[in-house]
Symmetry: none
């Protein structure tokens, strides 16, 4: 039931936004009553925190795997781009909530998520640094800004991507990986 509530909530939050979705909306979509919601969650905010935590922790785990498995930095970057974009179909709702609604967390919870978010970004930055040292990447790059640029490319996808649209996810991931590596110039 807790999972059921989470699932429906993510869907609604994604469609209407966190503040715009009422507990009533959530329980109505499940056919239960408000009491049930509060049996499983201490507050609406805690549900949001749950969603955030689950999302970022999953991302961090899979990022770690990539870093350990892949040999060169080029492939690490490609795989991370594909990681974020790749499962957009299954987790787009989750991702949208994650990228948009952090503001609604209490300061102490926001801090926790922010720390993990920073960790993810730092890991990417580290790959850029190592890639430069290994001669894989151009040595004029500023690793921190580039990491943020790459995340812009991938995360922004969650704003416009229409999973039932005409763009194939795999195709998009390939295109973006290529774009990140080589830019647009001939």
């Amino acid at each position: 039931m807790k999972q059921e509530i989470t699932k429906h909530s993510v869907k609604l939050f994604q469609e209407k936004g966190f503040s715009e979705t009422s507990i009533q909306d959530i329980v109505d979509s499940l056919g239960v009553t408000k009491g049930t919601f509060y049996y499983y969650f201490k507050s609406k905010e805690q549900l949001l925190m749950d969603i955030h935590l689950r999302y970022i922790e999953d991302l961090l785990n899979r990022q770690k795997e990539i870093i350990e498995k892949e040999q060169n930095c080029r492939n690490k970057v490609i795989k991370i781009v594909k990681l974020i974009i790749g499962d957009i179909k299954s987790t787009q709702a989750n991702g949208r909530v994650y990228f948009r609604e952090m503001r609604n967390l209490k300061p102490e919870n926001a801090e926790i998520i922010k720390t993990k978010r920073t960790e993810f970004r730092d890991n990417l930055e580290q790959i850029i640094i190592e890639g430069i040292e290994a001669g894989e990447f151009r040595n004029t790059l500023q690793p921190k800004l580039i990491a943020l640029g790459i995340l812009g490319v991938t995360n922004w996808t969650y704003q416009w991507m229409n999973p039932s649209g005409d763009v194939s996810v795999d195709e998009l991931a390939e295109m973006f990986a290529d774009f990140v590596l080589h830019g647009i110039h001939v």
Copy 2:
């Protein structure tokens, strides 16, 4: 007074979010009363629409100027990247509201903004297409996706940029223009 209200609202919307900011918050920050607000705006949503319209129309105008003035596509892209990032200091609040709060517009208003948003993106896509035809850009690129990728790099900036932080806006614009053109690979 209307401008005063808009200015303070943008600041508050950016800090706390549209739904989380009450009319009371707005008028308190101005030292006036609610009646005054409703003398100038028909509704809270109309104020948000005003903010959106002003922002996107300004962007579109300046984009048009760039397209007309610059000779080659390479420079057009560079200038557009710098356009979005360049005035982040003066309009970050505006930009954040623009990128985050469109969901709170009424369907008919959202449609209007969406059209202009699409126009901005289409213009960029057109530049990519022309650049490819002119041999400036790689011909393996999918123009629409690349346009979205570039916008990801630039628009995402509004999420993490701290205007009082240590990253110089000019430096950032240069770095991102370079990143967009040449990617990270040697």
Copy 3:
């Protein structure tokens, strides 16, 4: 278990008040679940009634003993003052609940308690009457009002007494018995 529940409830009701204490609070303090509570008590109100009944019936029994044992009215009054104040340490929580929460009983239950309360007061009034007739007490006293005055002195103690404070219970009982008998004037 029923006694255990009662004991913990009294403690919580005294600290936070009846309305402010939830069944959840009670069962949490015992490490059991709500079902258990409702196995032993029909309702929250019935628990409160139990507490009231037990308290007043004990008082009435001990008052009766005093009335039967003591020879003169002076001693009867002294002993009753000491009865109420004397076991404040062991039953302060009970007493506080008794003096404060009667309002939360259902009308029919409130009536039952009120009757017993009146009985206790009437017994005291009767002692005053007999004391006046016997020439022990001043014959200008209005027995009913004086009974209420004496109960004020004693019952009010439950409002301010801090059992772990610096006032000794015995000392207090002596002082109040003396005060009731002789007043403050020289």
Copy 4:
């Protein structure tokens, strides 16, 4: 309107208790809507605080007057007894709320009221001390406890007094003043 709300609230709190009275009850009794209540009061608790403050400050002022005007301690005590009981008719509701509902104040507000309550008691204690020194009162008395005893007699009245009942307020005040001074013993 604010006064109107306060007046009706006091009446309801006295009848049903603070926790048992809903904002809805209050506004219904006035024929207005909930919004109106919250236009005048920040919270239910603040209304309670208002009631408490008004009551104790009035008492303190009138106590001060008595202390300044009356010449001997005997009369000061008599006047204070009559002060508390005297206006029971006009302020019984207020008094009941004051004596019963302090628990529902936030800790910081409770502290403020407690301080003023203590001030009132300390003033009475001071009168006892001076009375003993002046030879008006018996020197075996413990001033602090006696002050609490006297307050028991008077304050308890708010528990049982039925203003429309058969006991005359003046008569009661006389009787209790006499009781406090001379006790019950011949």
